[in-house]
């Protein structure tokens, strides 16, 4: 069987299983809840605003650093396939790439990007 057809089939079956199981019991009248039941749970406390709010931007430099390494990963995919026939020279080249990006990690660490506060 063609792999892509199989992938599509597996996806459709998973989605169907997930969605149908959630809504199979809909006829019980689940979906109507009163206002007190819909209030978000805070241990009995209250929150006057919506929960959707912006988080501090310090989160984003870490995400940028992640993107940098993700791009390196993209380059490593074809590199891994031809590595053996290229020999140890390819290892040195990839090592240089990794070292340059590691400088980025050290810089981010010193800048306090990983302090979640």
């Amino acid at each position: 069987m063609n792999s892509l057809v199989a992938l599509l089939l597996v996806t459709v079956i998973g989605l169907a299983a997930g969605l149908l199981l959630q809504f199979a019991f809909c006829l019980r009248g689940d979906m109507v809840v009163s206002n007190p039941q819909a209030t978000p749970f805070l241990g009995g406390g209250s929150m006057p605003t919506h929960a959707w709010q912006r988080f501090h931007a310090r989160y984003y430099p870490m995400a940028l650093l992640f993107i940098a390494f993700e791009m390196e990963m993209m380059f490593m995919y074809p590199w891994a396939v031809v590595f053996v026939q290229e020999g140890i020279k390819a290892l040195a080249e990839m090592g240089m790439f990794l070292a340059i990006l590691s400088v980025g990690i050290v810089y981010a660490w010193r800048e306090g990007v990983f302090r979640w506060q």
Binding site: M1, S3, A6, L7, L9, V10, T11, I13, G14, L15, A17, G18, L19, L21, Q22, F23, A24, F25, R28, D30, M31, V33, N35, Q37, A38, T39, P40, F41, L42, M47, H50, A51, W52, F55, Y59, M62, L65, F66, F69, E70, M73, M76, Y77, A80, V81, F83, V84, Q85, G87, I88, A90, L91, M94, L98, S102, I105, W109, F114, R115, W116
Partner: protein, 309 residues
């Protein structure tokens, strides 16, 4: 293999495997807490049934579409992961030349699924769980991909079938000792367990799951267990030789070996989730970026030196 048996086998693996994970969970909890195990085999089914029988909850203004899609997406990703794994030496259900890359996509989309699940509820505890999870889930993905690329080096291919063949002499767990422990950490993160449970955690009253009840919650828990199965099958393929068995085994016993190895990795995963403590997110972030990621580089370099002629 024809379509019906393949899809049926995948579904069976998901249901049966999820049940096995739940059973392992009960055994591990009982062993660590030093108490007898109660209702070992029927217990997971009873808990699942009680979830299905409960009512679905709503919050004030949730993102209803994403709230319903997130567990389904999580389940789909688990299914895709299992479909990638070669059941026998003749191939997998989804046999593509870049199986590792598709698994990487599964990992990334898991982060999306968990975030959507927490975001959609429009409540504080789920949202915090979702945000924290993204911060930790992204770097651990990097660690896992370097580990997988290291496993792809001796195989000279990104296809899982080739990686299995490259282990015919020696399994990757022996040849690349850093690989499986680091990959297990990814498994903990993908399944929201133990030291990487930032999404559905105890200090957030259940986290992304806190506002959910009823069948959608049942699907979410089933998806978590299925992802454990999918991850373990992947780990068994890449590090433990997958369907390869002893020399006297026939090719038909491939699925049996794969199942046994998957069960072993599942047991390791469940044990780690009950025995290791979870750090605050900032400490975990620092650990990930400054210790675990360099370790995966070291593993990669070692694998490269070993694989080069």
């Amino acid at each position: 293999m024809n379509a019906a048996t393949a899809v049926g086998a995948t579904l069976l693996l998901m249901l049966g495997g999820a049940w096995l994970v739940a059973v392992f969970d009960r055994i591990a909890a009982a062993l660590v807490a030093r108490r007898p195990v109660g209702s070992l085999w029927l217990g997971p089914l009873q808990s699942g049934a009680s979830l299905l029988v409960s009512r679905t909850n709503q919050t004030e203004h949730p993102d209803a579409l994403n709230w319903a899609l997130a567990p389904a997406l999580y389940l789909v990703l688990a299914f895709v992961g299992v479909a990638l794994v070669p059941f026998s030496t003749s191939g997998a259900l989804v046999d593509i030349p870049a199986g590792i890359v598709l698994w990487g996509a599964v990992e990334s989309l898991t982060v999306v699924a968990v975030f959507l699940h927490g975001w959609s509820a429009n409540a504080l505890f789920p949202l915090l769980g979702a945000y924290r999870y993204v911060a930790v889930g992204l770097p651990i993905m990097l660690v896992s991909m370097f580990v997988l690329i290291a496993a792809a080096l001796p195989a000279q291919s990104l296809a899982l079938g080739a990686i299995v063949q490259s282990q015919a002499g020696l399994w990757n767990v022996v040849r690349q000792p850093l690989g499986l422990p680091l990959f297990l950490l990814l498994g903990l993160s993908l399944t929201l367990r133990g030291p990487f449970n930032y999404a559905d955690s105890a200090d957030l009253a259940g986290g992304t799951d806190a506002e959910r009840s009823g069948p959608p919650r049942a699907v979410w828990q089933w998806a978590r267990l299925s992802m454990a199965v999918s991850f373990s099958a992947m780990a068994a393929t890449v590090f433990l030789g997958g369907p390869l068995g002893p020399a006297w085994g026939t090719a038909e016993l491939g699925p049996l070996w794969l199942t046994l190895k998957t069960a072993v990795v599942l047991a390791l995963l469940v044990a780690a989730s009950h025995l290791l403590a979870r750090m605050p997110p900032s400490r975990m972030l620092t650990l990930l970026w400054t210790v675990l990621l360099p370790l995966s580089f070291v593993g990669l370099v070692a694998a490269g030196i070993e694989a080069a002629p």
